[in-house]
């Protein structure tokens, strides 16, 4: 297995140490690692396993169970299309297809330039503004397929100009 750099290992150990008194620390540790690095590969899970005594297979199970966690690096902007029931009946299926078509990636994948990741989400609790799309925490309400190209363009332009959206 590819070895982590010492600094990365130390950082993960530090994250694990934060929750050493918790009864069930795994979710908190994984959340922090996901936020810190954007993904949780097997090498990192091995370090967490060593620190917590939780088997790697169990950690891997948790990482693959929750869509919030990722095994591979995510793009700079994570586009989450809600496919919950309300959004779905309001046409979220077509919206995510449109993102797919323009970005040339399937849900769960990241564009080659590392800018966008497309995720299909379960209900995010924003049924009143269905169909909802969330990009790095910013929520776009009542998204129509016709708007999709504009949204993507907005982020691409911001990136070109070195600005944050």
């Amino acid at each position: 297995m590819a070895k982590l750099q010492a600094a990365a290992t130390a950082k993960i150990e530090e994250i694990c140490a934060r929750y050493k008194d918790e009864k069930t620390p795994l979710m908190m540790i994984l959340s922090d690692i996901q936020n810190e690095y954007g993904y949780i590969p097997l090498e990192v899970q091995e370090v967490v396993s060593k620190q917590t005594g939780i088997p790697v297979a169990e950690i891997y199970g948790v990482v693959t169970f929750y869509s919030f966690f990722s095994l591979t690096p995510k793009g700079k902007y994570v586009i989450g299309c809600c496919l919950g029931t309300a959004c779905y009946v309001k046409g979220a299926g077509q919206v995510i297809d449109k993102f797919s078509e323009i970005l040339h990636i399937q849900p769960g994948q990241t564009t080659e330039d590392g800018l966008f990741t497309l995720d299909a989400l379960r209900c995010i609790g924003a049924c009143g503004i269905a169909p909802a799309v969330s990009i790095n925490g910013k929520v776009f309400p009542k998204v129509a397929t016709a708007q999709v190209a504009d949204i993507i363009e907005q982020y691409r332009n911001a990136e070109k100009e070195g600005q944050e959206v």
Binding site: E43, V56, A57, E58, Y60, G61, T64
Partner: protein, 591 residues
């Protein structure tokens, strides 16, 4: 625990408070069909929904394996609603199951098929998509086929409980869930020790040994000199496959069956066990005398050796350099036996019958070859041997009792027999060490303090003529870890430690017949708790029947040293009978 009142099918019973409905019903004489519930709650996920019953006070039907009884509860197992629900649960499991039962080695001992028949599940009651299949036929010891998996989680629980390593886990979610080593890797690419405990608990054919019956068939076809050797623990359990009560030794019939299967020679691995004691005992005394690395740890169990190589690379010098008995005996067959009979070792094919699936891995190790020739060519489990006997039409129960071949090797002592149970190698070694240190035999012969049949740790201090030897015994890696961590921290007070991979030792190995009350109707209800003890007794009783009970008194072992090896730990002995270990990475890089 206080008693509470319940009713089952309208009949009043008193049961222990806190029991699940499944346990309470069993205590009252009802076996509710169930799948995922296993071994007193070792696995109790409530996931398979096969054990549904009606119970007052509950909303709808309840899974009896997880729902506790309550005062005044009225339980209906055979109400139409419960009967139909259980049937539907099984039909749903079958709708996502690979039903190629005629090709499945689990056929006849498949619990899914059993509950399907009990509940009257109809063929293709629910049709629909199938989950993606994940196959692993890479590891020499065991195979995984998720098309047969019902996601009960027994294997996940057993790996964690017995070995404390948790190789298997659930991956993904919903319809895409499957059970696997992390990252859908092969067992071979993960720190799995290939002990096969997961195979022993799998209710279906999802986890099986990697069968080598085909290899044996090929060897016969190629006209090789096919020689078979059977490990001690096999005789203590093989009878179960043919309806004998658990714990019936079937040594004589097994030998007769092996002969009828066409093997040219039928040897007992006990000869190899006696040889191991000569080598290992000498190694221990050498280490004690010359300030060698202590504690010395036994190396007979390949599951344990795998565990050490993955997790305790720094402690490998503690392992005895001795090969395991069947590898030693294989090496002797292909050298001494071959030269005495004028046969080219390349034309000899050695088959080991083992209670173990890790032995399948062990025989493939580069360190288990002499001049490029493997000591052992195929390893079949006790279960595979039963399959070979059954397909040949041999009526096992009608076979005469026959004797092992003992031409120039094969004679054995009681010390070899007890290798099959936790503490046995230790006891056998002590019998010989006692003789070396005192010049006479230990009067009582047996060392009661090291005996047992369960997992866990035992320890003893043996005073031999003023030399005190502190020993410890562990089986199952969860227990072994405690002793190993002590060594690592410099706190270990022991001179000699016996470690076996499976809890209870080889009698409970990953290649032994399945213990399921539903397929053993004549056994008492507590067979899950007593089978290890019963199998252990079968071995201890064979030891007692032997005239010779110390390895150093085996006349053919003496002859082997006189004529061929010289003395224990000689140069020749090292070349043939000793091996080496190397640290291994658990999750290796996959190209």
């Amino acid at each position: 625990m206080s008693k509470i009142n319940i009713k089952i099918e309208g009949i009043a019973y008193q049961v222990e408070e806190g029991m699940t409905i499944l346990e309470a019903a069993k205590a009252c004489g009802y076996e509710i069909p169930s799948l995922c519930a296993f071994n007193h709650g070792e696995c109790n996920a409530g996931s398979c929904r096969v054990c549904l019953v009606e119970a007052t006070g509950a909303r709808g039907l309840v899974a009896s394996c997880v729902y506790p009884v309550a005062e005044g509860m009225e339980i209906r197992i055979s109400s139409p609603k419960a009967v139909e629900a259980r049937r539907a649960s099984v039909e749903l499991l079958l709708s996502n199951h690979n039903k190629n039962c005629q090709q499945c080695d689990k056929n006849g001992q498949c619990e899914l098929l059993h509950v399907a028949s009990l509940t009257g599940a109809r063929d293709n009651a629910f049709e629909g998509a199938h989950s993606e299949t994940h196959l692993d036929y890479v590891a020499p010891g065991l195979v995984r086929d998720t098309s047969k998996c019902i996601l009960c989680g027994r294997c996940v629980a057993r790996c964690q409980n017995a070995q404390g390593i948790g190789i298997l886990g659930f991956e993904n979610r919903g319809f895409e869930t499957f059970i696997s080593p992390a990252g859908d890797r092969s067992f071979a690419d993960s720190p799995c020790i290939q002990c096969g405990q997961c195979v022993n608990v799998c209710p279906t054919g999802a986890l099986m040994e990697h069968s080598e019956i085909d290899r044996v068939d090929e060897a016969f076809k190629a006209g090789k000199h096919v020689i078979v050797q059977a490990a001690p623990a096999v005789r203590a359990a093989l009878g179960e496959e043919f309806g004998y009560p658990v714990g019936t030794p079937v040594t004589g019939k097994m030998i007769a069956a092996l002969r009828r299967l066409g093997f040219e020679r039928v040897y007992d691995v006990n000869f190899g066990a006696d040889l191991t004691i000569m080598e290992e005992g000498t190694e221990l005394l050498g280490r004690l005398k010359n300030g060698g690395v202590l504690p010395m740890i036994t190396s007979c169990s390949p599951g344990w050796v795998n565990y050490a190589e993955y997790n305790y690379g720094d402690l490998l010098p503690h392992l005895s350099s001795c090969k395991s008995p069947h590898q030693m005996q294989g090496a002797i067959i292909k050298s001494y036996w071959a030269s005495q009979h004028g046969i080219d070792p390349k034309d000899i094919f050695v088959v080991s019958v083992m209670p173990c699936v890790a032995k399948k891995f062990e025989k493939e190790r580069e360190q288990e070859k002499v001049n490029g020739i493997p000591d052992v060519d195929a390893v079949i489990t006790t279960r595979e041997l039963a399959r070979m006997i059954k397909r040949s039409g041999i009526l096992f129960n009608r076979l005469p009792d026959e004797e092992w071949d003992e031409d120039i090797m094969g004679d054995y002592t009681g010390a070899g027999v007890i290798f099959g149970v936790t503490g046995g190698v230790m006891e056998a070694a002590l019998r010989t060490v006692y003789h070396v240190l005192t010049g006479k035999e230990h009067e009582k012969i047996v060392f009661e303090e090291v005996r047992g049949h369960e997992g866990g740790i035992r320890e003893a201090s043996i005073d031999i003529n003023g030399t005190v030897i502190n020993v410890a015994i562990a089986s199952g890696m969860r227990s072994a870890k405690v002793l190993l961590d002590d060594i690592r921290e410099g706190k270990s007070k022991y001179h000699f430690i016996e470690i076996m991979g499976c809890p209870g030792g080889c009698i409970n190995g990953g290649g032994q017949p399945y213990i399921r009350s539903c397929f053993l109707p004549n056994e008492s209800d507590d067979i899950m708790d007593t089978y290890k003890e019963k199998r252990a007794k079968a071995l201890y009783s064979e030891d007692e029947r032997q005239v010779l009970r110390q390895s150093h008194n085996n006349p053919q072992i003496k002859e082997l040293y006189d004529k061929f090896l010289g003395e224990p730990n000689s140069h020749k002995a090292h070349e043939l009978l000793h091996t080496s270990y190397a640290e291994r990475e658990g999750f290796n890089e996959i190209k």
